[in-house]
Symmetry: C2
């Protein structure tokens, strides 16, 4: 008999809450290590490029038909164990009227970067009526996905603040740290507003039916642990505390966060995402007991021949045994040049190598 693996909706009677992904989030025994990929929906898929043709990024995130289609595309193609809600971290900012757009090949660009207290006024609370397409798409998706869990999506306050302050993408977020150090009162006011917006964005998704949430603090690795504790932790903690009222595991991810894994867990995450720089056995030592880990194959490995992918994926799985629970993922998003066939084989490898 072949190993039962992949999308649970194909197994009659299995509910999302019993899915390997959610069981792994809760550190319960699993039939195999669940798999999903950050940016599994995206430029690496020809069907994505097709539906996005001529549609600007932020428009695609506000059309329920496209959100639904793009979220489902990788689930149709690969036997992944979760879907990730298709969105962008600046969607809630755009939804409350912040002048922001995503320039192809560049990233989010602000009309007018945040410089002083007056600039905070535009950051009003996010209401469900600001993002009706989110509620609608989540409802459609949970119906379509059956027992495959849908993960909610939001950018974290530090990362949002970095775009607002820098005015666009930047290498080291120097202006962000300069404002943080130089005007802590303004910093915390900005972060409080972004925390309210992020919390609301995730609560809207949880209310609409997502089974878990992931908070993407992509650029928080620019901070030392002490600065994370002082300038970020109170805000991410507030988000995770608010979400405790919902029955959704909380995943917390950032890039270059080797020094921060412990404190990101302290913020209240059930699952900590690990990038490719820190081996999972080492990461397991850096987080408190009661933490599941997610990760952490280097996405650049997928551009190498299959033998390299296989060897490195097995190494991740071996090291993951040191974790209380493990969700297989990449250490960052799927790169646009990735061959989808590699992702398909990788998904099978993880399922087969870990089948109980």
């Amino acid at each position: 008999m072949s190993v039962v693996r992949g999308r649970c909706e194909t197994i009659p009677g299995v509910l999302a809450k019993d899915s390997p992904f959610l069981r792994a989030c809760r550190r319960e025994p699993v039939p195999y290590t669940p798999v999903w990929y950050m940016r599994q929906a995206g430029r690496s898929l020809p069907e994505y490029r097709e539906v996005r043709a001529g549609v600007p990024m932020l428009e695609s995130c506000t059309r329920p038909d496209l959100i639904t289609e793009i979220t489902l595309q990788p689930v149709r193609r690969f036997p992944v164990d979760a879907a990730i809600f298709y969105s962008d971290i600046v969607v809630p900012l755009k939804a409350i009227g912040v002048g922001i757009d995503i320039k192809p090949g560049v990233g989010p660009v602000l009309d007018s970067p945040v410089r002083d207290a007056a600039d905070l006024e535009q950051l009003r609370p996010l209401e469900p009526t600001d993002v009706p397409y989110v509620t609608e798409a989540v409802a459609t998706l949970t119906g379509e996905l059956g027992a495959t869990p849908l993960i909610g999506f939001a950018g974290a306050p530090f990362t949002l603040a970095s775009y607002l302050i820098e005015g666009g993408p930047s290498r080291h977020h120097d202006k962000t740290r300069a404002l943080m150090y130089g005007d802590p009162a303004l910093w915390h006011r900005l972060m409080s507003r972004l925390t309210a917006i992020t919390t609301s964005f995730l609560e809207i998704q949880a209310t609409a039916g997502v089974a878990a949430v992931q908070l993407f603090d992509s650029w928080v690795g620019a901070l030392s642990p002490a600065d994370y504790r002082e300038f970020v932790l109170p805000h991410t903690s507030a988000i995770f505390t608010a979400l405790a009222a919902y029955d959704v595991p909380r995943i917390h991810f950032g890039v270059g966060t080797g020094e921060l894994l412990g404190v990101m867990r302290d913020a209240g995450a059930d699952v900590v995402g690990v990038d490719w720089r820190v081996p999972l056995d080492e990461a397991a030592m850096r987080v408190a007991a009661g933490t599941a880990l997610q990760g952490n194959l280097d996405p650049a490995v997928l551009l190498a021949p299959w033998e390299v992918v296989a060897a490195r994926a097995r190494d991740v799985l071996t090291r993951a045994r040191a974790a209380e629970s493990h969700i297989f993922n990449l250490g960052h998003g799927v790169l646009p040049d990735t061959d989808p066939a590699q992702l398909a084989r990788l998904t099978d490898l993880v399922h087969e190598a870990t089948a109980q």
Copy 2:
């Protein structure tokens, strides 16, 4: 009597080899903690912007008069304990004929990125006659600087490889890692050629009279420790081993290298540079005995009010007591918007706070 501090050439009879900077590199007792700043010569100084007006970056690195002037500018302005040779990491590549230029506001851009073995042919060995301006400027500078040590400068092979492979600056150097994973034989051939060029570039500077060298592996923090050991360590080790024949302390620096501090020391560095993400007391635990540390005030702190700068500089000095020896520096280069007056006050603060 006021504290004796700063440029040693002002103290009759003091030789460069007895300077606080070189004593600290050798982990010998010092009268005060020596200070210099990465990019102390650069856009933060009005006199730099004046001499660079209308002169392209790479041209300025090939004119002995400008190299000398720009290297001396911060030494005239601040009582720093060392000068850093004004150059750019791509200078030796340009000198052997690689089609590369530095675009203002962007960084190094290649005419034709390295993709296969044929592309390696252009990376021929660097000869002293390729960089006569380096030899000439070092000779002039050591005369002008007297007892203030001159630090030689080179980019490390991984960082050079990242520009050659990506074709320009990139956020995560994904193509670089993809080539490294996917074609290790080509990778090592590329790294061997870059190692020969870098070694030669530093030997030329050492022969001409620099008192120490710093190898800038700015972007190597993109790697895990295991990958550093396999793909980079043999090459940086070869560079430092070759330099052991010269009486010059070897400083090794990269950004985001918290996970790599131990193995960067293993490569043969006498001094390991630490960025702002890892406190120096923690960094001291990560390197072997017999290592001096350099760093690590966040350069963004200098954009904050002086009270913040002072408090954070004192914190760096307190944590540095855990190191066997300490050279004060920033965790990365001086930012262009930095007020030179802040650097002047900071230099005095470090000298006065640590005077024995």
